[in-house]
């Protein structure tokens, strides 16, 4: 240890100044360091193996799939008969109908299309907080949804909402899970990010859009992005990741009594606050009001919203909450 470091440690011991930033409460065993890449729960994959992503209405994918697409197509399911028109494929003429009705009728089939699921995972600095981290919880949700989509041979488009643009993860089968986990492991959370920029550059609209975030962003850009998804008919679903520390910091031991300097995980902004019981109660009341505001905004836009806490068991969330929300089946 250098001389300077020794003096700094002695000074900190004398005056109780450690010089480190408390990450919010007492760190649990095995908690990743701040700024570490998300660590999705891979044990979730067997749980979601039997689940599929469902989307009301026709599938809008371009490729051949197992979902009914709009209009007739080259599917396997019979749709109807229609009179033969020149240019129709002769292989679709129904000989049985000609023998019985003496009319040239052509059999038509439903189009089998795949459906596309776009997942936007918020990797902003605010997600890099909580015990356990909201980032790990959100990444696990994203991994489970991606696995469900790939199980149904749907097209997956995973977008990471980060401060620096990243390449989306695309896939149509379970072989894409490997690159997906690798992409998550390589991501670096932090900074301020916008959902709109992350979702930009897509060539067509998806069947479902899922936004996984703690919504601790500025209201206007987030609502604009959700409104755009809703207008595009992508039936957005907001998975609201909540940490108990955000809602009731006093109960979680995040804010002890006395003078505290609160540091914004995203912007690094600092705010000094004298904390006592009344402040913690006011914080909890403000958190409840904030949740109500988010819920009202989603209802106003027409966005479906489901909440999940970082300590909520993910199997139950997938098998119960998301199925009730109509996203999985």
């Amino acid at each position: 240890m250098t001389e300077r470091g020794r003096w700094a440690r002695l000074w900190g011991r004398l005056w109780g100044r450690s010089g480190k930033v408390a990450p919010g409460g007492r760190p649990a065993q095995g908690t990743p360091a701040l700024g570490a890449p998300p660590r999705p729960d891979l044990n979730l994959l067997p749980v979601v193996q039997s689940l599929r992503v469902c989307a009301p209405g026709f599938a809008l994918g371009q490729g051949q799939g197992e979902r009914r697409g709009p209009g007739a197509g080259a599917g396997l399911e019979f749709a109807e008969h229609r009179p033969y028109q020149p240019g129709d494929d002769l292989r679709h003429l129904d000989p049985h109908a000609y023998l019985r009705l003496q009319q040239l009728l052509v059999r038509t089939f439903h189009a089998d299309r795949d459906q596309e699921l776009v997942i936007a995972l918020d990797l902003s600095g605010s997600m890099d907080a909580g015990q356990p981290r909201k980032l790990d919880h959100g990444a696990s949700v994203a991994l489970g949804l991606a696995a469900a989509a790939l199980n149904g041979r749907d097209t997956l488009d995973l977008r990471l909402v980060t401060a620096t643009p990243t390449r989306p993860v695309l896939g149509r089968d379970r072989s894409a899970l490997g690159p997906l986990v690798a992409a998550l492991s390589a991501a670096r959370p932090g900074g301020e990010a916008t959902v709109a920029s992350a979702l930009a550059g897509r060539r067509r609209r998806a069947d479902r859009a899922v936004l996984i975030s703690d919504v601790l962003l500025e209201d206007a850009p987030l609502l604009d992005a959700l409104r755009a998804l809703r207008a595009a008919g992508e039936r957005p679903l907001l998975v609201h990741v909540l940490a108990p520390e955000d809602l009731d910091p006093g109960r979680e031991g995040l804010l002890p009594d006395g003078e505290n300097e609160l540091i914004d995980a995203e912007s690094g902004e600092r705010l000094r606050a004298g904390v006592d019981r009344r402040l913690r109660e006011a914080w909890a009341a403000e958190a409840r009001a904030w949740l109500d505001r988010v819920e009202r905004s989603c209802q106003l836009i027409g966005v479906q919203r489901v909440c999940t806490g970082t300590r909520t068991p993910l199997p139950a969330f997938f098998s119960s909450t998301l199925r009730r929300a109509g996203l999985l089946q």
């Binding site: 995980a265 606050a273 402040l279």
Partner: protein, 529 residues
């Protein structure tokens, strides 16, 4: 000065420690400040109690103001340990002494040594406080009641000159006829207390049938004596074991008054006793009450020399920088720095104190300077050396000045060498161009700071010499009103109580800052974000 700074440090140390020890804010990383900002806005909308902020601000400003006032007022004040002593079992007019504990030998000499003839020398000295200052180091005396040394018990102690003077002021107001004495190593306390002592000592508590009053009419030994009371025979005055002098009465009977005038060698103890018809005694009054305008050319306006002169009751001091022109009305020019060029001719006395005496026609002797731990030989008796002989007989005249040097002078023709050191004259006086010029080969700044009595009396004698001590008009003796304490009492001669000691101000400042810190801590605990 030292005590003032120590008080400031003692007052400031706990405050600084409290501020440093206040726990630093704990840094907590939160997901977002959206909620905290909303809370802060909500709290900001609520009317923050302005009273708390104003009180906090007022406490801080008040504390700073108190510190500034204390430091500005007492930046140059000397502190000393003073103690008020009282004789147990003595008569009602037993003297009380304000003394310095550091001068234990002096107190022993004053109160505990029995003299052979039984004369209460302490009482005699107390009646001449200026003499006491001069002879205190060598006076052998007994307490008035013959009390043993253990009988001198401290009744009030003070750590600062101002507190001791406040105690003296209260005692003077309560018993204006009680003789007093004050001995203190700091010149300011000595000179201030002397003015009070002389005024209070002239009015005995128990008035005898014949009352004697005395006043000095000039600085060269002229005395004016008055007797009043009830007597038929002319009383006789005895001048301190010396010759007797009959006082003719202008009127006899119940309202007898008499008046006499004589000249007395003031280098010897002079206590005037009234014999026949009464046993009153009188002390010589204070130096001439006329204020002498003194110009001090110095580079240390807050030094010990300037403070001592400022404390002298008969000095109207004007501080001047080196080479500054002399004001027109200055009567005594004390040159402790470069003098004005040319020397103004209308100044009665010019004294070069420890600086090059060339401007007043004297030069340094070529001999190297010596330390002042020497015994200069005394020259002819002179008004400037009054009260210094007794001290000189006991030991070194100037002793123990840190870093001080004694230099010899080469005086002009006709000059009188009053003090002579190993290398030649070190104090000389002569008349030139209608002025009395004095040269001292010693830095008086260090001497006054160290409480060297000869130098203090040299300064007082210079003031008196410059004042001229002109003969006053003959007074008609009356039964009351002679040399009695002034209308405001002897206490009025002491400095006003507005010159409070710095310690209370500093402690008040410390209390204000502590309250402010406590208030701040309380506001923090209330959770204002």
């Amino acid at each position: 000065m030292t005590w003032a700074w120590l008080s400031l440090l003692l007052a400031a140390a706990p405050i600084i420690a409290l501020w440093l020890r206040s726990p630093p804010p704990r840094a907590v990383r939160v997901s977002s400040l959206l909620l905290a900002r909303a809370l802060a806005r909500a709290n900001a909308r609520r009317a923050r109690p302005p009273l708390a902020a104003l009180v906090e601000l007022a406490l801080v400003l008040g504390a700073l103001g108190l510190c500034a006032v204390a430091l500005a007022r007492h930046a140059g004040a000397d502190a000393s340990a003073l103690r008020l002593l009282r004789v147990e079992g003595g008569p009602s007019s037993a003297p009380e002494i304000v003394g310095d504990l550091s001068l234990v030998d002096l107190q022993v000499e004053l109160g505990l040594v029995q003299r052979a003839d039984g004369q209460v020398a302490v009482e005699a000295a107390l009646q001449r406080p200026d003499e006491l200052m001069a002879t205190g180091a060598t006076t052998t005396a007994s307490s008035p009641a013959g009390a043993p040394p253990s009988a001198w018990d401290p009744v009030q102690a003070a750590l600062h000159e101002e507190r001791a003077l406040a105690a003296l002021r209260a005692q003077c107001a309560a018993a204006p006829g009680t003789p007093w004495a004050a001995v203190d190593p700091t010149a300011a306390a000595m000179l201030r207390a002397a003015s009070c002592l002389q005024a209070s000592g002239a009015a005995p508590r128990d008035a005898p049938p014949l009352r004697l009053s005395a006043r000095r009419t000039d600085a060269l030994g002229a005395l004016e004596l008055a007797v009043s009371g009830s007597t038929e025979d002319p009383p006789t005055l005895r001048l301190d074991e010396g010759p007797t002098l009959p006082v003719p009465l202008s009127a006899a009977g119940a309202s007898a008054v008499g008046w006499a005038q004589l000249r007395w060698d003031q280098a010897a103890p002079a206590v005037i006793h009234l014999e026949g018809g009464g046993s009153d005694a009188a002390a010589l009054p204070a130096p001439p009450p006329r204020r002498v305008r003194v110009g001090l050319w110095t580079t240390a306006p807050a030094g010990a020399l300037a403070r001592a002169l400022r404390a002298h009751p008969a000095v109207e001091l004007e501080l001047l920088g080196p080479g500054a022109p002399a004001p027109a009305a200055v009567e005594l020019a004390l040159l402790a720095a470069a003098p004005p060029v040319p020397l103004p001719p209308n100044i009665a006395v010019i004294a070069a104190l420890g600086v090059d005496p060339a401007p007043i026609s004297a030069t340094w002797a070529p001999m190297a300077p010596t330390t002042p731990r020497v015994q200069p030989r005394l020259g002819a008796p002179h008004a400037l050396t009054r009260f210094t002989t007794a001290v000189a007989e006991e030991g070194a005249l100037i002793d123990g000045l840190d870093g001080g040097t004694l230099r010899a002078l080469r005086l002009p023709a006709g000059a009188s060498a009053l003090w002579t050191g190993p290398g030649g004259p070190t104090l000389g006086v002569w008349d030139e161009a209608g002025q009395t010029r004095v040269a001292l080969g010693l830095d008086p700044e260090r001497a006054v700071r160290a409480g060297q009595l000869p130098v203090l009396h040299l300064l007082a004698n210079l003031v008196e010499l410059a004042g001229g001590a002109p003969p006053v008009a003959r007074l008609s003796p009356t039964r009351a009103g002679w040399f009695s304490p002034p209308s405001g009492g002897a206490a009025s001669l002491l400095p006003p109580s507005s010159e409070a000691a710095p310690a209370p101000l500093l402690w008040a400042a410390a209390a204000a800052l502590t309250l402010q810190a406590a208030l701040r801590r309380a506001l923090r605990s209330r959770g204002r974000p």
